[in-house]
Symmetry: C2
Subunit: 400 residues, 2 copies
C-alpha cells in the first residue's frame, strides 16, 4: 500500500508556488511570504552613532586623564539625536552629544557624561578613552548590499522591523493560493440549522477552514454538497474553471454505493493519482488532477479527515504558499502511557507533547471522535511493527 | 535592581482580562478566546451509527455462521447515512445499512458486506458477530452535559470543529484588548519618507505592531511622537480617555535631557510602578499607570525594545487577552557555541534553538542591531553569574 511519504511526493509534484506577487503595505503583509530579497541600500546605522550621553572628542587626547588630572576640552557645540553637527572636531575640542546622535567628524569616541564635570564652555574629562571605545560605527548593524531577508521568508515581527528599518513601508509578497473546501454527505447538516433524525452536524469543513485561517489562508470557496456525483462534479468543474489551485473534499471515498467520489472523478475526467494509503485513520483518501487543479478527497470521519489534512494537505500548502509554517514538525518523544493496537497498521494517535515527553490522549481514539482532539497538540506515530504504545518507548510525534 | 519576574508580577497586577464579550460567527472567531464553557446539548453521535457498509441485525443470531453454514436473514429495508429507518429489526430480519447510517432499533451489530452474499431479499451471513462488534454507540464521542471546551480556551482548528459538530455556527468570545503603540524620538522617521542626515527609520513601532498582529491583535492606535514631553503627554492623555487598556511606547527612558518620558509621566500625573530592571539590553524600561491605563515605556534601542516586549509586554497581553499564546515558552537547551560577556549582568542573546540545541547568533549582538534577529527563534539567557555562553553548557531559552 502507498506510504504517506510517497503520497506527499506525488501531491507536491502537482503544484508550484504561485507566481503571482503583490505589493502590500508593510503592516498588512504580516505572515505573508517575501517575493524578493531585501537588500540593504544604506549602511545601518547610516552614520557613526553615540551609544550614550556625553562628549565627542579624539580619544588619544584623553590619555592619562583622571579625576586628579583631568583633560580639558573646549566645547564647540552640541548635537542631539536626529540632528547633524555641521563642523569638525579639532584638536582640544569636544562636542556635547546625546544618545543616538551622529558622532561629529574628527571625533572617534564619546566620553560618558558621568566621567566629566558636565562643563558647558569647557569640559573636564576624568577618564581616558581609547578611540572607538564608546562609538557605534556606521554600518554596525549591516552594510550596504547585505541581503537581510531572503525571498521566500515569512514576514514575522523581526522581518517587518528590519524592512521598516531599511525605510520600506511596502513590500512585495507572493499571492495566496486559491483553495476551496467541500464537505459531502447526505447526513451532514451545516451548524446553526435544525438537526433531523439520522443527521449530524458538519465539523469537517469547519476544521479545514479554521486550520487554514489559523495560518493566514482563507479558503476562497467553502461549501457542502449532498451525495450526488453529478452535482458535486458540476461544483468542482466550476471551481477548476475559476482557477482554484487546490480543492479539498471530505467524505464519499470508501467503497459503498454512497461513496460518490469515484463516480465524480469519472464524470470530471480527472486523472487519479492515488486512492488509499497506509494510514489509520483516513486510509481511503484519494487524489486526482482535474484541469490544472489538484483535488484531495479526504476521509469523511472527522478524525480521519484531520489526519489526512495534517499529513497530506499541509505539505501541499507548504509548496503552494512557499511558507514553512505549513510544515509538520516531527520530533522524538518518550511515551508516558500505554495504548494497545493491532500490529500491521501505521496509526496516528492523538497526544500531548511537552518537553520531549508525550501522553497518548486518554480519551476516545475512535476515527469518528473529535472531542479528544481538543486537548491534543500532536499526532503520535505508532508504526506497523508496534503492537501499540508502551510507556518509556521513544516515538515520533508530529506537532499540530 | 528589580528582577524581570518581579516586574512582570507588578505589571500583571495592573490589568484584568477584558470583561466585554461578543458573539461572533464561528469561522470569524479563529484565534479568539472562548468566553463560555461549551457544554454538549446532545450525545455525539446522536444515534448508534454504523461504521461500515453491511447488514444490521441481532448479533446472537449469527452464532456459528460460516461460509459453509451461513445464517440467513430476511432483508426488510435499507438505510443510508442521513436517513432514519422507521421500523424495528425483528428476529430473523436484517436491514441493509451504509456507513454513517443510524443502526435501526432492534439491531445490535452490523455485518460487513464482504462477509455476506450481498443479498437483496434475503442475505446469507458467513461470519458470526457479537453484539456491538461493528457498532458505534450513541454518545461514543461524548455524552450530553460533557464540558467539551472550557471558557478561556483559544479557538484553534480542533475547538472550531468541535463547536461546529455541536451545531454551533456562532460563539461567544472575549473582546480584544485596546492597545496603542507610540514610538518617540526626533531622530526617528517613518519608513517610506526621505531620510535626512542624522535620522534613522522607525523600526520599533513596526516590530511591536507586527508581533501583536502575528498573534491576532491589531493595535487600535499606532503613531510616532517627537521628543516633546507636552505633546507626548497630550497624546497619551487622549488615549487614556478613549479607554485604551495598554499603551506601549519606545525611547526616551534613559537619563539624558532628551529622555522625555520622565517629564511626560509627571505631566500626566501618572503613578510610576518602576524604572530600570536587571536586564541587558533594555534595562531603562519604565512602567506607570495613568487613569486606568497601563503604560509600558520600552528602551529605544531596537533590540532592547524587542527584549522588553517579549519579556514584559507579552505577559501583560496574556492577562489582557486571556490567551496562552502570548506566554513566552521557556525551555532548556545545550549551547553549541561560545559568547563572551562580563559577569554581573543578566543578558539575553539572540539565538536559534532546534531539538534541545541552541546556537547563539554569530552575527551582531549589539542592542541597536536588528539584522541578527532575522535568523533567531529564541532569546538565550546568560545569567549574572555566567561570564558568557560556553559550548556544552545548559541554558534557558525563551522561544520567540
Amino acid at each position: 500500500m502507498l506510504q504517506i511519504e510517497e503520497a506527499v511526493k506525488q501531491l507536491q509534484k502537482q503544484v508550484t508556488q504561485k507566481e503571482h506577487t503583490e505589493q502590500m503595505p508593510l503592516l498588512e503583509a504580516a505572515g505573508r511570504i517575501l517575493a524578493e530579497d531585501a537588500v540593504a541600500e544604506k549602511d545601518q546605522p547610516p552614520f557613526p552613532r553615540s551609544p550614550l550621553d556625553g562628549y565627542a572628542l579624539r580619544g588619544e587626547e584623553t590619555a592619562g586623564a583622571s579625576r586628579e588630572h583631568p583633560a580639558i576640552f573646549r566645547v564647540t557645540g552640541k548635537v542631539c539625536a536626529g540632528e547633524w553637527f555641521p563642523g569638525r572636531v579639532q584638536k582640544g575640542e569636544a562636542v556635547r552629544i546625546m544618545t543616538g546622535a551622529p558622532v561629529p567628524e574628527g571625533a572617534d569616541t564619546v566620553i560618558r557624561q558621568e566621567d566629566t564635570d558636565y562643563g558647558e564652555e569647557t569640559v573636564q574629562v576624568f577618564r581616558a578613552s581609547a578611540a572607538f571605545e564608546n562609538y557605534c560605527p556606521q554600518g554596525e548593524d549591516y552594510r550596504t548590499g547585505t541581503v537581510l531577508l531572503k525571498k521566500g521568508r515569512r514576514l514575522d515581527g523581526a522581518a517587518t522591523a528590519i524592512l521598516a528599518g531599511m525605510g520600506r513601508d511596502s513590500v512585495r509578497v507572493y499571492g495566496l493560493p486559491r483553495v476551496a473546501v467541500i464537505s459531502t454527505g447526505d447526513e451532514v447538516v451545516p451548524p446553526g440549522h435544525p438537526l433531523e433524525r439520522g443527521k449530524i452536524y458538519d465539523s469537517n469543513r469547519y476544521y479545514l477552514c479554521a486550520r487554514m485561517q489559523e495560518k493566514g489562508l482563507r479558503p476562497e470557496r467553502s461549501m457542502h454538497c449532498r451525495d450526488n456525483a453529478a452535482e458535486l462534479a458540476g461544483q468542482i468543474r466550476e471551481m477548476c474553471e475559476e482557477g482554484m489551485e487546490l480543492i479539498v473534499t471530505t467524505g464519499g471515498v470508501s467503497v459503498g454505493e454512497k461513496d460518490i467520489l469515484h463516480e465524480t472523478l469519472e464524470l470530471l475526467g480527472a486523472r487519479r493519482l492515488f486512492w488509499r494509503i497506509d494510514v489509520k485513520p483516513g486510509a481511503p483518501v484519494m487524489a486526482a488532477v482535474c484541469q490544472n487543479t489538484l483535488l484531495i478527497c479526504l476521509s469523511g470521519n472527522p478524525y480521519g479527515a484531520a489526519v489526512n489534512f495534517e499529513l497530506l494537505v499541509r505539505p501541499v500548502l507548504e509548496v503552494l504558499t512557499g511558507s514553512r509554517t505549513w510544515r509538520l514538525e516531527k520530533r522524538q518523544a518518550v511515551l508516558q502511557n500505554d495504548f494497545r493496537k493491532k500490529k500491521g497498521t501505521r496509526r496516528f494517535l492523538r497526544g500531548r507533547e511537552e518537553n520531549g515527553k508525550v501522553w497518548v490522549a486518554a480519551g476516545n481514539q475512535a476515527s469518528g471522535a473529535l472531542s479528544s482532539l481538543a486537548e491534543s497538540n500532536c499526532l503520535v506515530e505508532i508504526t506497523k511493527e508496534m503492537a501499540g504504545a508502551t510507556k518509556g518507548e521513544t516515538v515520533w510525534v508530529y506537532l499540530l
